[in-house]
């Protein structure tokens, strides 16, 4: 092996790497808030009395879940201007990430509520609890036991998915790494550093979520 690694060449760019990480986290946070709201609306649409809304909810979820994120983001950024809707790269990235999380989170939450046996709802009604009280005191916590781990996994996946928006040159960790690559020509080193930064961020969040899960949603051992 004749290749000599030169990580020192990247040292002057550490602030740009850090800036990229912060942009990635901001992108993830913003898309999480919008995406979860969209997911709840989708869930409501799927439980609506109107067949049209139900069909809309189902189609949205299935289309997003069965096409690649790359095509979704290219469609939104390059395709929609053809219909007169032009978005900046960052806005298109947030829109695509939120639409993506909306579909997946709707499916996860639905799965969590479906996991509650029907008898639990019926028992709540039999005890004279209102539907809201039943939901609040009987359904919510066990549903969260199913939902929370899946949703936190989805959050980490979203964090990793943000790297794909570099393809529409929205600024985040991967796209700043690409610019550092074109300045230093140390491609392998640049992407090793970027990959390790992603690894740190995702491990940080998965450890945090595991701790929250253990503290709030674990079954009492005794």
């Amino acid at each position: 092996m004749t290749y000599t690694f030169n990580f020192a060449a990247l040292l002057p760019y550490w602030e740009i790497f850090l800036h990229g990480c912060l942009l990635t986290l901001a992108l993830t946070a913003l898309s999480t808030v919008l995406g979860l709201s969209l997911g709840m609306l989708t869930l409501l649409a799927r439980r609506s009395r109107h067949a049209f809304l139900r069909a809309f909810g189902v189609s949205y979820v299935e289309i997003i879940r069965n096409t690649p994120f790359l095509v979704q983001v290219l469609f939104i950024f390059f395709g929609l201007p053809q219909l007169g809707l032009s978005l900046s790269p960052w806005a298109a990235a947030v829109a695509a990430l939120s639409l993506n999380l909306g579909a997946f989170s709707a499916e996860i939450v639905r799965g969590g509520i479906d996991a509650i046996p029907r008898g639990q709802f019926e028992a709540g009604a039999a005890l004279g609890l209102s539907p809201f009280q039943t939901f609040r005191h009987i359904v919510l916590k066990p549903a969260f036991r199913v939902i929370f781990p899946a949703l936190s996994g989805q959050f980490v996946l979203l964090l990793l998915t943000t790297s794909i928006v570099s393809s529409i040159s929205a600024e985040e960790l991967t796209s700043v790494s690409q610019s550092i690559d074109s300045l230093t020509f140390r491609s392998f080193e640049v992407y090793i550093v970027a990959t390790l930064l992603y690894l740190c961020m995702s491990l940080m969040f998965s450890t945090l979520f595991k701790a929250i899960d253990r503290a709030c949603f674990s079954y009492p051992i005794k």
Binding site: P68, V71, L74, T161, I164, S187, Y191, T195, L199
Partner: protein, 216 residues
């Protein structure tokens, strides 16, 4: 010169699906072989092997697939391997699939009741026979639905190979888009192509999952 968007262009895009399917098949087959190895190491009786496999899985589950492809694409030449995009995409996706399938099948192996392998040991079966005839057949059957679910993820993931220049469904849509200036149609048809491949598989996985849920 701007080309018209005609049936011919639609055909050009959908022809890219062939490379998508071949790449998916290679990565799924390669990932299956290495994934089985990862799953066995992850459940091995030796602690060092378990840690090693765990680290491999954590790395691939904790980093973006796009960066994994970049590392292979820029990293293989460092080790003196001549890169062509087919090799880079196939190696990157195979490693990715090995980690995810390894984790899915580890779950399957651990879900097989302990008594099964204890009974096999009591009958005098060694590790290989115990795994091959007793544990793995049950483990793989239990993890069949999530395996198909991951196949859908993998097919969608092959689109990222477009970014390192591999011509498949997404890349051919990009090419048509820049030749015709009709990105809405180009990416729309690419999405239709993926949907036609992935939707039936997703439905199949969901049906398997329901059937398994009823059986238990």
């Amino acid at each position: 010169m701007v080309r018209e968007f005609t049936l011919n262009e639609i055909w050009m895009i959908l022809a890219g699906a062939q490379a998508t399917l071949i790449l998916s098949a290679i990565a799924f087959a390669g990932g299956g072989v290495f994934g089985l190895l990862v799953a066995l190491l992850r459940t091995a009786p030796v602690r060092g092997l378990r840690t090693l496999a765990g680290g491999f899985i954590d790395f691939f589950q904790g980093t973006p697939m796009l960066l994994q492809l970049f590392l292979v694409f820029y990293g293989l030449p460092v080790f003196g391997v001549h890169v062509n995009v087919w090799v880079a995409a196939a190696v990157g996706l195979t490693l990715h699939a090995a980690a995810f399938l390894g984790e899915i099948w580890r779950g399957g192996i651990q879900a097989v009741p302990r008594g099964q392998s204890e009974a096999a040991s009591a009958l005098g079966l060694g590790y290989v026979d115990r795994m091959r005839h007793v544990v793995l057949p049950q483990a793989l059957r239990m993890s069949f639905a999530p395996t198909i679910g991951f196949l859908v993820q993998l097919i969608k993931g092959t689109s990222l190979a477009a970014i390192i220049g591999f011509v498949e469904l997404s890349r051919s849509a990009q090419i048509v888009s820049s030749a015709t200036y009709k990105p809405l149609w180009a990416y729309g048809f690419a999405a239709v192509g993926y949907f036609l491949i992935c939707f039936p598989l997703s439905r199949y996985a969901a049906r398997l999952e329901r059937r398994y849920a009823v059986a238990t």
